[in-house]
Structure formats: C-alpha cells, structure tokens
C-alpha cells in the first residue's frame, strides 16, 4: 500500500473544573507525556510547515489567512518570511507551544485547544491501526502522569463533537504522486468519502451542528461538512481539504489531507477507512473511467443524508441523473477497487470490505461486531429496551443519559468501546503486545524509523525533528545546526543518521 498516516485530536476536560482552559490542560498533558517517556522526546521542527499552499495551484496570502490556518506561527519569522533556524531554536522554551516528537516516530502536541497525536508514516492500513492504538495508550499514560504531577484529574475523549457546536478532527493522510490532477482527484474521490460512512461512522447522539434535534446518526463529522473542496479545516469545512503541504519532495509527491473522517475507537472501521480509501485512490491514479458513473449531483447534502439514513435505503442522485443508495455506490467502488489490490494487505481490505457490505445489506445489526455506529446503536438499544421494560415508556433520543453514554463511549481508559472489546463483543485487530511495541518503536519500513531512532538514540545531539527533517546539533558551542532532510517518506535509512546511530 501507499504511505499513509492518521492524526487524532482528543477532546479534553478536567471533570472537576469544567471551565478549565483547554490550551493549558493540553500543554500540561504534553509536558506530562514527555515526563512519562522519561524525557525521550525531541522538539518540533517547523521548517517543513507550509499551510497556505493550495493543491489547486494557488497560494493564500498570509494576511488573508485566519489565525487557525497558520500552523507555523510559533516559529514564523516575519522578516525572513519563513521559519528560520535561529527562530527554531529560539522558541524552544515557550510552554504555550509544547511539542513532543516521540520514540515511535509520532508527534504529540497542542493543536489549538486540543491535544493531538499525529501517528508516524506507515505502509499498511493495519500498521496505521496499530500505531493509532499506540497513540491512545501513550496519551492514556500521559493522563496518568498528569494526575500524579498536577494532583488534578483530566479526561480525554476520542470523539469529534461536544454537542454544543464544537467539532475537532481526525485527519487522514495519503501520499500521492504529484502528477495526479488534484481537481479530478477531488471529484472522483468524493462519492467514496460520502458513502464510506456506512462502515466508518462512529455514531452520534444528536442531529445538527449544535445537536439541537433529537436522534442518532452514523457520523460524528457529517454535520460539519459545508463545502466540496477548500483550504480551511475549522470553518467552511470541506469534504476534500486542499492544503498542499507534502512533507516530501514537492515536485514528486502530494499529501492528500482528509478531514471528513470520524475518530474511531473500534479497529475495524479504522482499517477500512484507510484501506478502502487508498484503493479508491489507486483507481483514481490509474484514471479508471468507471469512477465517473458514480459522481454525485449534490455531495455536501448527501453527507448528511447518508449519516441519517440508518436503514441504508436513501437514494442519492448521481450526476448522470440515476439514483443509488450508499451501499450500491460502495459495492460499485469495491468492484472497481478489486482491480487495484496488489498484495496480501490489499486483499485483506477487499475481503473485509465485501464482508461488511454484505452484512450491512442483509441486516445492519449483523455488523455490530465491526462497525462502530452499529455497535453503539446496539448498546444504546439495549439500554432503551431495558428502560422501556422497567418504566413502560421509551427513552427518548434527547434523554441526557444517551448523550452521556455517547461521551462515555470514547473516554480513554474506561470508554465503553474498549469495554466491549474486552468483553469480546467487538472485533480487535491488534494484540496488547503489538500495541506495546508500537508505543516504544517506530515503523521499521518508513522514514519514521529514523525519527524515532534519533529521538531514542541521539537525544543528546538532536535539536529538533519534523516530518521531513532531523536537526542535529553536535557542535559543542552550538554554532552549527545541521538539517538532515528526509524528503522520501519510503526511505527508512540515511547515511549520516545511521552512522551516528551505529557510532
């Protein structure tokens, strides 16, 4: 498979002080994470950040960008119109911008008002699932350390909404050759992103961005998608994000950055989310003309329609004028994707994809062991049935107990999703041993290996690291920073770094 990566922003709260400043909580959590890892972390190199370049060829002027778009702002130098090395060193001590580059090649940091774990680059969807689960374990260990250090409680949630209008993201990244036309890619991929919700949705109690209508829907993120393609990620959120920040040789690669997906606490949806999307991208890269027949007439509306269609019967209008259900579109995409499965990992995706569509098509509840929204709906259904049997009246969807259960579903440490996995009621793909290894080690087959190994083995001389750089400071007077460029994410070795690691 191609290089992929997964980023998760967690909800954060102090249960004893609901009004506590989330930026401060997140900063302290990153600090506790550094501590939990015994100081084996490096600071972040902002040199590779380029948030204003658009995949469609234009560039947003800095003065027209909203603040939340400027991810390089901690170390942006106005005079130099970029991030400079001097600047990178200078902001190291600023606690408001805490970052940690982790031994497993991931980045843990404060993104706006949330702690974010950005997993390392991996080559298979299974590895993405594994290093994502490692992120949950690392963040949970950080919360435990936080509580020891601060003497206060903190709770983390792997979800995307607070039910009061706020949404925070789970982002997917896919490496794509630069010569693939981005506009055509966005159009061809959209039907998949709209309809894959049937097996990637994490389930949500509440309808509408502010949860003002009662009900249950498939997706956490659906109500926050407002346009087809855009640079923004916090307002006018797009189905396909166009930020052109490849973190790799620009002339050769694009990094497709998707913000539409839900955070998944279950592992099978995470696997399918990345695996199916990568296969559809392979079809797009090959210029498969069958994809054109699936283009939707009104994709933004359709995101909401599919998310609310729990019986999987709603018909979406295609650009051709024909109508098809989300499941029918998914079956057509599966048939196309089959042609591009070229290894065992892809074959597993195809088999699981087909299986889950079959089960959803027969009876949605048959997919309760693998599809998160179905598992959540089933557990809530049992609570509602229990209540109705005892009280004689149904529990309405705007009952606070169901909203509370929706939150408890994704709480790190004791979340209902993981409790179901422990009870054997939902399928797990990883073992505890595999996750523990992924906490401590980076993937061995991407450049993340070098980043992780440098953090662990070269801590004394690593000044900073980014996605495509490791900054070395081995001059005893600190007068000479060396930037090692890792511009090919596939490349797991580097002459200089490996010689230092061997030495």
């Amino acid at each position: 498979m191609r290089i992929v990566g997964l980023e998760t922003e967690y909800g954060i709260t102090d249960p004893d002080r609901p009004g506590a400043n989330p930026i401060l909580l997140s900063s302290r959590l990153v600090s506790a994470c550094r501590d939990a890892l015994g100081g084996l972390t490096a600071r972040w190199d902002y040199g590779g950040e380029d948030p204003l370049q658009d995949q469609r060829g234009m560039r947003r002027e800095r003065r027209y960008a909203t603040g939340d778009l400027l991810t390089d702002s901690p170390e942006y130098d106005e005079a130099a119109r970029g991030v400079t090395l001097r600047r990178r060193r200078g902001s190291w001590e600023d606690p408001a911008h805490l970052n940690a580059v982790l031994p497993n090649g991931a980045r843990f940091y404060v993104d706006h008002a949330h702690p974010e774990y950005s997993g390392p680059e991996v080559r298979t969807a299974r590895d993405a699932v594994r290093w994502d689960a490692a992120g949950d374990a690392i963040v949970l260990a950080a919360t435990r350390r936080y509580e020891e250090i601060e003497g206060e409680r903190v709770s983390l949630y792997k979800n995307n909404v607070d039910g009061k209008g706020a949404s925070y993201g789970t982002h997917e990244n896919y490496l794509i050759p630069r010569d693939v036309d981005f506009d055509a890619l966005a159009v061809a991929l959209t039907p998949h992103l709209v309809t894959r919700q049937v097996y990637t949705g994490a389930g949500r109690v509440g309808l509408g961005a502010f949860g003002d209508a009662a009900g249950f829907q498939m997706s956490q993120r659906a109500d926050y998608m407002e346009t087809e393609v855009a640079l923004e990620t916090t307002l006018r959120r797009p189905i396909v994000n166009s930020r052109d920040e490849p973190h790799a040789t620009r002339g050769r690669w694009r990094r497709l950055h998707l913000i539409i997906g839900d955070a998944n606490c279950l592992e099978v949806p995470n696997l399918l989310k990345l695996g199916t999307t990568s296969l559809v991208l392979a079809a797009i890269e090959a210029g498969d003309e069958r994809l054109e027949e699936l283009e939707l007439a009104t994709p933004v509306e359709d995101v909401r329609t599919v998310s609310r269609d729990l019986s999987l019967s709603a018909r979406l209008t295609l650009r051709s004028g024909e109508r098809a259900t989300a499941l029918e579109i998914q079956r057509a995409l599966l048939e196309i994707a089959r042609s591009y499965a070229d290894d065992a990992a892809d074959a597993e995706i195809v088999a699981r994809w087909e299986g889950v569509l079959d089960r959803l098509g027969r009876d949605v509840m048959e997919a309760a062991r693998e599809v998160e929204w179905v598992a959540k709906l089933q557990l809530m259904g049992r609570l509602r049935a229990k209540h109705e049997a005892a009280q004689g009246v149904p529990m309405a969807w705007d009952d606070a107990r169901l909203a509370a259960m929706d939150l408890q579903w994704s709480r790190l440490g004791d979340g209902l999703a993981w409790r179901l996995a422990q009870a054997g009621a939902v399928e797990r793909l990883t073992t505890d041993a595999e996750v523990a290894q992924a906490v401590a080690q980076a993937p061995s087959d991407t450049r993340a290996r070098l980043r992780g190994a440098a953090v662990v083995g070269l801590g004394e001389i690593v000044d900073a690291a980014g996605w495509s750089t490791v900054v070395i400071d081995r001059d005893t007077r600190h007068g000479n920073l060396e930037v090692v460029h890792l511009d090919d994410p596939h490349e797991a070795t580097n002459a200089l770094l490996d010689s230092l690691l061997d030495g």
């Binding site: 706006h112 916090t234 499965a341 179901l420």
Partner: protein
C-alpha cells in the same frame, strides 16, 4: 503505485481468509454487567456530565 512491496505475487496465494461472519454477542453476561453499570452511573449525574462537556473547535 509508489510502493516497494508490490511483490508481483497474485494475492490469492497469500490472501488471508475473509473475516468470518460475526457470531452473536460473545459474552452476553459481560454485556449485561456492563449495561447494569452504565445504567447505575447514568442515573445520578448524566445531565450535569453532558452539560459540562464543552470543547473548543479544533484542527
């Protein structure tokens, strides 16, 4: 595809078995216990818990 792992092997040879169809809930007792626990915890503080979960927009 830019990957190096395209071995040229037809995937049928080393493909894993398709995932088996799900059985019914593995451990009904464990789930009943979990449900009991959820129900108990929700009786007391659900409304306040939900009201106090306030986040800022992200990403």
């Amino acid at each position: 595809m830019p990957q190096v792992n395209a071995s040229g092997q037809p995937y049928e040879d080393d493909a894993p078995e398709p995932a088996p169809a799900p059985a019914t809930m593995a451990s009904t007792d464990a789930l009943d216990d979990l449900l009991e626990e959820i129900d108990g915890s929700l009786q007391t503080n659900a409304e306040q818990f939900v009201r106090s979960f306030v986040q800022k927009g992200g990403e």
